[in-house]
Amino acid sequence: MDLFLDGFSQFFHLSNFIAMNIGLFLGMVFGAIPGLTVILCIVLFLPFTYSMGATQSFMFLLGMYCAGSYGGSISAILIRTPGTPHATATMLDGYPLSQRGQTHKALNLALYASTFGGILSAVALLFLAPQVSAFAQQIGTPEYFLVCAFGLTIIAGVSGKTLTSGIMTGALGLFIATIGLDPMTSSTRFIFNNINLYSGFSLVVSIIGLFALSEILGKSEKATRVTGSLLHKEDKDANTITKADYKKVARPAILSSIIGVIVGIIPGTGASMASFLSYDRAKSMSKTPEEFGHGSIEGIVATETANNAVTGATLIPLLTLGIPGDAVVAIMLGALMINGLTPGPNLFVDHGATMYAIMIGLVFVNLFMFLQGRYLTRIFAKVIKVPIAILTPIIVIFCFAGAYSINTSLFDIFVSIAFAVLAYVLNKLQIPIIPILLGLVLGPIMEENFRRAMILSDGSWSIFVSSPISIGLLTLIVLSLILIIKGKIHEKA
């Protein structure tokens, strides 16, 4: 309870509210513009968090994360182009409703559903995270290595077309993280006598290359502007959400938020899976399934509740175990590390008040998202008309300034370009890049725990099956691998 109150007082600062609202605004803009992603938004503005404290920077990033999830639905409803991948399910019903002149109703339903899902998810985080953390504190180095391996295996398994390609890139990310000075013995590793490589590759520089600059290389076609004629005229009378509407969407909203929370806790799953799963459930439970795909309000609510319910749930493994559930959260983990908060089971012990401040903050992030969405949606609707041709050079200028600012080194700019080329080539070869990011983030923790465990056991691998928790985790890894392989075979068939 003391930690909760400390967290509350740590959170209630004007600077946190300002950071949160700027983050929300930016997140909605980036989410709304097709071609720009939430990851890109977070990567571009990550350098701004260096001068902020842990809570303030996390509020800024959480604002982008949550608002980006909702922002994707704006372009999905207005111009039939989902701003984010998980808004694809929203588009199925949002756009037909907009075509019928009920754009405002569709946007409002998406906003209400997103806020509901987000708040429920924040409450789940607030209650579940301390319980998981209490369990996490009982685990030792071999178990912690296995927890990291589990997270990486799942993400490697679900990210690529094949399990082997995911594992390969996950291992590549872990390998890149080993470059530089060895933290345990201080001997150099793969630095090729280059002084710039002594401290290894900066996580933020790698992320800028992998996710922002590689997107620019991918934009090798002329971008077009959205014309006004694509937007539909509104029928003012049909835009009110009635009591009957609320009654109709209550059940799918509750069910979808539960689905979103459960899916969000599992690493590697993400908002897209939650959206489609909820959409499918809502359709099968609906009294009017024939409306789905033709402007069903239940469809919009189900998908939007689910994809925002994921946001808080993905923070549960992140804050308690240091395992990021998806790429966006992995970048946020980087922000925690920049502020000296080492991810892992001790995070709640060492920085309990900050953790509570972040969790309480998530509730407010969703409330302010509602307010911004309510009053600024018209601006966001206009933002989608901004041509990508203008945004592309601005993004690169931002990226270069951000990459340079980390160590005030030009070398970092070329490192980010190298990572962009790597990501571009891997994309062409249909090899996933998200496991590289996870490898980069988890690399130092995994190696440290692996080596400590091996030193403790005098080089014997039996330490990884020496406790019931280890055996349980190994069984979980094997079971997940079997399920992933089975799923891939099923996909091919």
Binding site: S165, M168, A171, T185, T188, S220, V396, I397, T408
Partner: protein
């Protein structure tokens, strides 16, 4: 004033017309090259190329490891242990993928192919060259000047014809430069 306006019209109008004709000529030429390149498509086997790349990478890591990571003798767990383990994992997975595809070839089963367009790849190369040029120019002419040049070059690449986009990007370059310099206190080149 009337005389001045008339003079301006008589001098500027032909210049603008010449520039316009020049731009449309370049546009037509680029369109012709583009349509020629667009027709050039090539197929690749992504899984085979990917696995060969990873085999090469992991073998290189293992070969270079003794020279790049010095260890003390008589230690079971060294700074080499973890990177070596990762290199073997990459090698194992890559060999497995490669073997699977070779087996498919022998059995005459379809191996997944990807069609690449020469136009898209050339465009990506141009974007890369522009980025590299931007990075190389930065220490020579400074962040803001190189950003302005890069911004204008990118708009030309996208063949943006609306004149007001150009000053907009230039203003943004200045704003970003000043933001990092005076708000974030980053000493940009």
């Amino acid at each position: 004033m009337k005389v001045k306006k008339g003079f301006c019209t008589s001098v500027c109008a032909p210049v603008i017309a010449t520039i316009r004709t020049g731009i449309s000529g370049v546009d037509t030429r680029l369109d012709n090259w583009g349509s020629k390149l667009e027709q050039k498509k090539f197929n690749i086997y992504p899984s085979i190329i990917g696995s060969v790349l990873f085999i090469g990478l992991s073998v290189t890591i293992l070969v270079l490891m003794p020279s790049q990571i010095k260890v003390q003798p008589n230690q079971s767990i060294t700074p080499r242990t973890f990177p070596a383990l990762l290199a073997y994992i990459m090698l194992g997975c890559a060999l497995l993928t490669f073997g699977k595809d070779v087996l498919k070839f022998i059995r005459k089963q379809p191996v997944p192919k990807v069609t690449l367009s020469a136009l898209v790849e050339v465009k990506a190369c141009i974007l890369l060259v522009l980025m590299l040029g931007y990075g190389l120019l930065m220490p020579v002419i400074g962040f803001i000047a190189s950003s302005v040049l890069y911004g204008v070059a990118m708009l030309c690449y996208f063949r943006v014809k609306r004149w007001y986009y150009y000053p907009l990007v230039v203003v943004c370059a200045f704003l970003i430069g000043y933001l990092f310099k005076y708000v974030l206190y980053v000493r940009l080149p």
